[in-house]
Symmetry: C2
Subunit: 338 residues, 2 copies
């Protein structure tokens, strides 16, 4: 029996969070949820990669400051991103000189970071664990697809990598929202090879993890206000709802996808929706966490999804494995037994 | 006060481990410590990257089999590697369909995986947590430096990326060796920019973490049979001993570096020594863990070191940040208080 799902007997708290974005994110429906907007994709530096690092540096700083904390209060920082060797994170958080655990889960990185931060806090190994991730449209395009200058045509299934970051801090004690539990995702590969259709590759991973959570806990879909995925976009969201239709017919009306939230797809030219580690992370840190803290949302599942391909191995003809880690967040600490 | 260092009140066990290598590793002084040797760098597949995945697939399988276990017994698998987006791990462990947490800490990945597996086991979140990593000479050369066919000249400070993998499993209960504690490393950047001199970039990170462990615990260097680093090689090992000379004069005679162990530098053309995630991981899983289990070693510190650069950002002129995570392994469970 795998213990993919954990329900915390002493649920840790998300004590602070912050979201940082770019110009396109500011123009989206949730533009007001960002703590800081950067109009310059270079962030006044020389390269897009250095720019992406600034996203994470800013998000960590602002998250800590919002709670009256500094990096001296943090015991550990967990982070990663889409860039090769996760350099967005490394160079972004380098100056904080915190004990650092690098993680990689593609666009599911914030779920993984939040889960691990919660394990460390709930296990008594960290008094304050920070998790951060980011993505940047310009770095992702040139690394995964084409340099921007090439002007490549994007198919309708393609998604727009958000220039955004989210950071949060988890502590064994504090107020709402509480991390009540979560499910560590399994790698799911349904044979999709089109790197311009990540939503289709990731939807089965989201479904696998969401189903496992409900099987393991015996809870009902209707218990939750929202079941949030990371960046399935239009194509992947439709697929997820179809996959869930039989066993979880109530999922469709409760489903929200950060990739569909972050931009206005009628007015902004983002094709199938937003994507990237920073998409789910910024919507979580900038919108869902504050809504839960305010009690306007009571219980949500947050299941960001990641496509674990690399351009190299995709060009070698390999299919795209995906993963989705799930976290149960609640405005109430609750009485739960493991 | 940062809690970079944890001492476990209930130390978890490393219940099994396995090392897998290639031809050059087999010809080294510890060639007999590998559970399996693959002479074909393609592992009978089409590409080096697919080959590297086989290393991890084999190591996990063999580690579990040695303890009479299957993947059904494992609650979670933690892994990562040097390849872009950690595809060595993803495609290697995909078929096991285990709850999967991706980690990235360059050549310090096995220390991070072992630490996190120990946190999950000690915290009661996993009954059996598997950690795995790998490296492959041919994939690393073409990703970080030049394709092999180019026949580029390597400077004397360069190291030879080991074609090797190590896997181990941690449980809250079991026999020796025990994970008594560890220190999560901080990112250290002393301004080295030469990607052919990783040893020099990583030595200050190893020193930073080792020093922090001794400061946090008040323990003495002489308590340990060996203080093991991952892949500092000749240049980095000399630097580490020089850095430690003043405060820890006993370190030099206790220091062992997996990069200097894995090959015979007089007979094998490996320049400054071995490197890569698989170097430290295979020496840990193939040599140190069995020695501790047999009681021939009593206490060691295992501090693998990782250089967190990417070729892209290195070519942009950035310096090389490094990190080193440290684990205290012991043949005795001990009586310790947190």
């Amino acid at each position: 029996m795998h213990k993919a799902t954990t329900i915390f007997t002493q649920p840790p708290s998300i004590v602070t969070s912050a979201a940082v974005g770019g110009k396109t994110e500011h123009e989206g429906p949730y533009g007001g949820c960002f703590d800081k907007i950067n109009d310059d994709p270079y962030f006044t530096l020389d390269t897009f990669e250095q720019g992406e690092s600034q996203l994470q540096k800013q998000a960590v700083r602002i998250a800590l400051e919002k709670a009256g904390l500094t990096e001296d209060d943090a015991d550990v920082l967990l982070g990663g991103d889409l860039l090769n060797q996760c350099v967005g994170t490394t160079y972004g958080v380098r100056d904080y000189q915190l004990p650092f655990l690098g993680i990689y889960s593609a666009c599911s990185t914030m779920s993984e970071g939040l889960l691990l931060a919660s394990f460390l806090a709930a296990g008594g190994f960290a008094g304050l664990a920070v998790a951060v991730t980011s993505s940047h449209f310009c770095t992702a395009e040139r690394q995964y697809r084409m340099p921007l200058n090439y002007g490549g045509q994007r198919p309708p299934t393609a998604q727009w990598t958000a220039t955004a970051s989210g950071a949060l801090a988890v502590s064994p004690s504090g107020g709402a929202p509480y991390v009540r539990g979560g499910t560590i995702g399994r790698i799911v590969d349904m044979g999709v090879t089109d790197a311009n259709n990540m939503g289709a590759a990731m939807a089965p991973a989201a479904y696998s993890t969401i189903r496992e959570f409900f099987h393991d806990t015996g809870m009902k879909v209707t218990y939750f206000d929202k079941i949030v995925t990371g960046d399935l976009g239009k194509v992947g969201s439709r697929l997820l709802c179809e996959l869930a239709e039989g066993e979880f017919p109530d999922l469709r009306e409760r489903h929200a996808d950060c990739g569909l939230m972050i931009y206005d797809s009628d007015k902004q030219d983002v094709h199938s929706g937003g994507s990237g580690c920073g998409c789910a992370a910024s919507m979580l840190c900038g919108y869902f966490v504050p809504e839960l803290r305010a009690g306007r949302l009571k219980n949500i599942l947050f299941a960001a999804t990641g496509a674990l391909l690399s351009p190299t191995i995709n060009q070698q003809g390999e299919t795209i494995p995906s993963v989705s880690h799930l976290v149960w967040l609640s405005s109430e600490k609750g009485e739960t037994a493991q």
